[in-house]
Amino acid sequence: MSLIDSVSLPRNFRLTRMDGLIQWILPLAIIAIWQVATVTGFVPTRVLPAPSDVVLAGWKLLLSGELIRNIWVSFWRASIGFLIGGSIGFAFGLANGLSQLSARLTDTMLQMVRNLPHLALIPLVILWFGIDESAKLFLVALGVFFPIYLNTLHGIRTVDPQLIEMGRIYGMSDGELFRRVIFPGALPSIFVGIRFALGIMWLTLIVAETIAASSGLGYMAMQAREFMLIDVVVLSILIYALLGKLADSASRVLERATLAWHPAFQKR
């Protein structure tokens, strides 16, 4: 997505130094307005706690160790689920992109499963796995699978056939052709899939943890709701936002490092 952004913007539109600061102006302004609105009583604190209260709640949970433990549990579920679903999706994307036989065998079935909202499976998954770790991992893996599968497949299918012909003319073996032409050509598309998948990963985890869990950020938020601890509820939501942003930034860094050749990622 950053790929598309920076392509459509003319070069001189890009702010180099200010770029790092400018993105934080809006969030900071919202927090300031929010603080003023709650302190003055314009917004009752039963509806929305002041940011300072949220920070305070965060500090307390941090000291008790509860916050770190829950973040760690959620982070662990997210990454393991992502790794499992992502690798299976990548493997199917490769297989179906490179082999007609494999595509004919599995693509129709995968497209059918894709049209099923994976969150609709929650009742079934709870029946199968109960509310322990495997249920969450299964749901995250399933959600992450499709964007990675589809974009890997698309990336491989759209590699410039003229480059493939060139590789063959210059005597590349199948392995070399894959390593030097097909995989690097598919990589931008694979990254689009990864970033979509990261979004779905958090979404799935939030829903799953809210409905059925005994630990994690979603569980923490639901517990706080029971005791009307609205500051903790807001805190968990903010932490989800922060983790989502973190995952996105990580994928951006990776993208920049591996796609240095791409005009969209070149400095000037």
């Binding site: 003229q162 480059l163 030097r180 050509g185 240095a260 050749w261 791409h262």
Partner: protein
């Protein structure tokens, strides 16, 4: 006003780039001894795509080191002939022989598009041309030499995306040259370039051909380009060789000379009269 100035500037810049061929080489008169080229014999060559018979019996002999240009209208089969010679398509009937055992590295093609790997640096792109010799220890040295031959040694560590169209095509030429091919086939290699860059590329092609002595086959729709570069111009019409014209002008050729212009005119009139008949 500003646009006018800018255009004037870029044109003068192009004109100076067009002269990058060193004059000392251009002054050399004698023809090189062709030791590395391969002769080419084509007999009864036919090729169809579905019901459409594109080549209807081509018989052709190209001696070692000759520079042959193939011209014709779109769809006459000239590109198909080139792809068959380069081994990119299967032959339906007839034969193509090179009079010797040939290796894959002996025959190279250059296309209208540079077909560079965008994710590999310029030098790595040239190394691709070494084929099976990619893994040898002198691969990098050979690639550097080939880049120097097309006057792009200073771009070795650039990404292809920052190069101009002409520079990309020069990298593609270096990639084709790096394995010291004995037959080099060009499929409209200059078709996508602007006029001035094209002239400088033509000089470069002529120079490397004279230096290395490979057999050159150039498919083009530009008759003046064919006459400026080739020893011999073949006109293809409806899948057959309709005319076979020798170009005996001395080298290096002077663009726009009366002799070449006359030849160009007569070949063009061949092409156009075929138009009138249909």
């Amino acid at each position: 006003m500003q646009t006018a100035l800018r255009t004037a500037f870029s044109e003068s810049e192009l004109a100076s780039r067009a002269n990058f061929v060193p004059h000392a080489r251009a002054a050399r008169e004698e023809r090189p001894v062709h030791t590395s080229g391969l002769p080419l014999s084509i007999r009864g060559l036919r090729k169809s795509f579905g019901d459409n018979e594109v080549l209807r019996g081509i018989d052709l002999h190209i001696p070692v080191g000759q520079f042959v240009a193939i011209v014709g209208k779109s769809g006459c089969g000239k590109s198909t002939l080139l792809r068959l010679i380069a081994g990119l398509e299967k032959i339906d009937a007839g034969s193509i022989s090179f009079g010797d055992e040939v290796q894959a590295e002996d025959i190279r093609v250059m296309f209208q598009e540079p077909r560079l790997l965008p994710w590999a640096r310029v030098l790595a792109n040239v190394e691709v041309g070494l084929g099976r010799d990619r893994a040898t220890s002198d691969a990098q040295l050979r690639a550097e030499k080939a880049l120097a031959e097309v006057v792009l040694a200073d771009k070795r560590d650039q990404w292809p995306s920052v190069l101009s169209g002409g520079q990309k095509q020069r990298v593609a030429l270096a990639r084709a040259l790096v394995s010291r091919p004995r037959v080099l086939a060009f499929d409209e290699p200059l078709g996508a370039l602007d006029a001035l860059t094209r002239i400088s590329m033509q000089r470069l092609l002529e120079r490397v051909w004279r230096d290395q002595g490979f057999t050159a086959i150039l498919v083009t729709h530009d008759v003046s380009e064919a006459v400026a570069l080739a020893d011999r111009v073949l006109v293809i019409e409806e899948g057959r060789i309709a005319h076979d014209v020798m170009v005996n002008a001395s080298r290096p050729r002077e663009r726009g000379s009366v002799e070449l212009a006359g030849l160009e005119g007569s070949i063009l009139s061949h092409l156009l009269s075929a138009d009138d008949r249909t």
